[in-house]
């Protein structure tokens, strides 16, 4: 059993960076990258716990997350492309038509 605390701290830092990016950045690509950052922070935490517990459950979950992230990238980038084509901008604040 090794100490996984540094990994978990790194995971928390990465998650916080990603979260802050999602909340404050306007460029859709950057927001997207921040989302990926959060996912990978979660992956790191899963793998770290897997190591701590000595079984493979966390690692299997991390693979699933990667698959989901890949699918998400395909669809997300397609959406961003479409928005950019119609509005000539990739700012998430510009795409705010769907509201009250």
């Amino acid at each position: 059993m090794s100490d996984v605390t540094p990994y978990l701290v790194l995971s928390a830092i990465l998650f916080t960076i990603g979260c802050t990016g999602v909340l404050i950045r306007r460029n859709a690509i950057v927001v997207f990258m921040c989302v990926e950052l959060m996912l990978n922070a979660a992956n790191l935490a899963l793998v770290a716990f897997s190591r701590q517990h000595g079984n493979l459950d966390g690692q299997v979950a991390a693979f699933f997350v990667m698959v989901v992230a890949a699918a998400e990238v395909v669809i997300g980038l397609a959406i961003i492309m479409t928005i950019f084509r119609t509005r000539r901008s990739a700012s998430v604040d510009e795409a705010s038509l769907l509201k009250w």
Partner: protein
């Protein structure tokens, strides 16, 4: 046989009104024939019963209402009182039908007119033949309906439509009184039958009987155009003239007097109600007479006169057993001479029809018609002499008796009735002078001519009745005849001899005639009514401000009340119901602002939500 008296005109009304255009050609003749047959039946019944000992009998048609304690049969009562009414209604009614054949000959809707006339007669017959107040009420409402239809017969004229509505609405006020009276009868006696009520009055409290009497009086006021419900009668002149004759002589306005006399058992035990009847009657008889003095419209003069004469009848009814028989006596003679004069006025209007086809009613355009229309003039003169009470004519006997009875009651009631007789003489003489005497004031294009025989025939018959109506009093016949219904008159107790009232009346009447001669007969009549007049004339021309009083006392407060109720409904009742949805809507308007379309704010909400959940879990799992 009795039901057929009602049934025949009812069949006529049904055939004409349901049959539609198919009956256009022969309908009016059928409608004239059926009341005629009804009259024959009434005469046969009358002669048949004259010899019989027990003259009143009830015919039970069927059970009308049978609910709980309330049992009402469709019962008809034929007795002395209804027999006289039957003769008057069917007799005068038939004459008016015959007259209408000529008067309405060129009206495109005359089939409908005759249908309504028959309905009117049938309703009035139901009213006087009823054996209980509820059947009477049926006829009462039928009369109201028929009068509404007939007053507004020329519905293309807004004034006629308004007059019909006014008559209907004012009658509703009176009907409310009658329906409350019926309810009170049922509560007190458990029945609305005349027989039960007349036996029960002896045991009922006087207070309650006074209330009952006052409610009945309210009903009678509405139908008989007594104060304070008098205003509809003058406007009712918008109807065709035969209708006015029917309303004023045979049907409708006499219903109130009938109700009072029929309810004599109630009035006998309620002196308070009787006093109210006398007060209403005296005020009305003067009120109507004063209006009659100031009008230039010949029909309105006669309408004012009807109000006044009905006032005499109500006065007689209010005098109690001393007056009931005379009320009916005056009602009969008035039926004759007023029908005569109304039909005569119609004949004059018919003769004075201008190039526009409208009959002229303004007496200022008449004058010297006695040569142009001799038959109308002579018959009208008979009616005139009868109404002012010229010695020997029918009105003399009947009015004289009422004044005599009034003098016995209180000298001031008698004095006011005498004054009314004087004013009556004044306005009727004025009418005669302006219409038939003086110089010609005819408008251009008017060629007065005598009316056709079908119109003058009824006039002659009614004129004869106006002259001879007094025969009913021969040997106190009418008092003895009606005694089983209305009770015996008390023995004369005052010191006045019988001839005293007669002489006094004749003197007052002579004064009235002389005054009319001085003011109207001697001088040429202006072609338009003078505008510079003393204030009493102005007041009388405006019907003594009857309409203005109604407007300020009833209509305006009613409108205000409606306005208040309307706003209570709108803001109170509706407010409660619409307030909830409105509050939800307003709240939603505030919260939907959260949905602002910015992805980052949604993300923040998600983060916030996640934090809340994590914190909550930590709190819950805190060891």
């Amino acid at each position: 046989m009795v039901p057929w008296v009602i049934g025949l005109p009812l069949i006529g009304a049904a055939v004409l009104l349901v049959g539609g255009r198919h009956t256009d050609r022969w309908g009016p003749y059928l409608a004239t024939l059926l009341p005629g047959l009804s009259f024959l039946l009434s005469v046969i019944l009358f002669l048949h019963e004259l010899g019989a000992h027990d003259k009143s009998h009830v015919s039970h048609l069927y059970t009308w209402i049978d609910a709980g304690r309330l049992h009402v049969g469709a019962d008809l009562l034929y007795d002395q009182l209804s027999s006289l009414f039957l003769l008057l209604i069917t007799g005068v009614g038939t004459l008016i039908h015959v007259y209408s054949l000529g008067y309405m000959a060129h009206d495109p809707r005359r089939r409908r007119f005759f249908g309504y006339l028959n309905l009117f007669v049938a309703a009035m017959l139901t009213l006087v033949l009823a054996e209980n107040y509820l059947v009477l009420f049926l006829g009462w409402e039928g009369v109201g309906l028929a009068s509404y239809l007939l007053i507004g017969f020329w519905q293309h004229k807004p004034s006629a439509a308004a007059a019909a509505k006014k008559a209907f609405v004012m009658n509703r006020v009176g009907d409310m009184g009658l329906s409350l009276a019926i309810a009170l009868c049922f509560v007190t006696f458990g029945s609305t039958s005349f027989a039960v009520v007349s036996h029960g009055v002896a045991h009922a409290s006087e207070e309650r009987m006074t209330i009952l009497g006052l409610l009945l009086l309210l009903g009678a006021c509405g139908k008989s155009a007594q104060l304070p419900l008098q205003a509809w009668l003058l406007d009712a002149m918008e109807g065709p003239t035969p209708v006015s004759a029917l309303i004023h002589a045979a049907t409708m306005v006499t219903a109130g007097v009938y109700l009072m006399v029929r309810s004599n058992f109630v009035l006998d035990v309620a002196p308070g109600a009787r006093t109210a009847v006398v007060v209403v009657a005296v005020v009305t008889l003067l009120w109507g007479a004063i209006i009659g003095c100031a009008k230039d419209d010949i029909k309105k003069v006669l309408a004012g006169s009807t109000m006044s004469q009905i006032g005499y009848m109500m006065l007689a009814a209010g005098l109690g057993p001393a007056g009931y028989a005379f009320a009916i006596f005056h009602l009969l003679t008035h039926g004759f001479f007023k029908a005569n004069m109304f039909l005569g006025a119609g004949s004059v209007m018919h003769g004075m029809t201008g190039p526009d086809g409208e009959g002229d009613v303004d007496m200022r355009h008449y004058g010297a018609l006695r040569t142009a229309m001799p038959v109308t003039f002579l018959t009208f003169a008979m009616g005139y002499l009868a109404i002012i009470g010229f010695p020997g004519f029918s009105g003399f006997w009947s009015k004289d008796k009422i004044i005599d009875a009034a003098l016995h009651e209180h000298w001031y009631v008698g004095a006011l009735a005498l004054l009314g007789a004087g004013i009556t003489a004044f306005y009727m003489t004025r009418l005669m002078l302006m219409t038939f005497f003086g110089e010609r004031r005819w408008l251009d294009g008017v060629h007065p001519h005598e009316s056709p025989k079908v119109m003058t025939g009824p006039l002659v018959a009614l004129a004869a009745l106006s002259v001879l109506g007094g025969l009913l009093l021969l040997g106190s016949w009418i008092q003895d005849y009606l005694e089983p219904v209305v009770g015996a008159p008390p023995e004369d107790s005052s010191g006045l001899p019988a001839w005293f009232a007669s002489v006094l009346t004749v003197l007052v009447v002579a004064c009235g005639v002389a005054l009319a001669w001085l003011l109207v007969g001697r001088r040429p009549v202006a072609a338009t009514s003078p505008q510079q007049v003393a204030w009493p004339v102005t007041v009388a021309r405006h019907d003594l401000y009857g309409d203005a009083i109604n407007d300020t006392m009833v209509v305006a407060p009613g409108r205000r009340l409606t306005g208040v109720l309307l706003s209570v409904d709108r803001y109170g009742v509706d407010g409660v119901l619409t307030g909830g949805p409105f509050a939800v809507g307003a709240l939603a308007g505030v919260f939907r602002r959260l949905q602002n379309g910015y992805v980052r704010s949604y993300a923040l909400s998600v983060l916030g939500g996640g934090l809340v959940i994590v914190l909550a879990l930590m709190v819950v799992n805190w060891q």
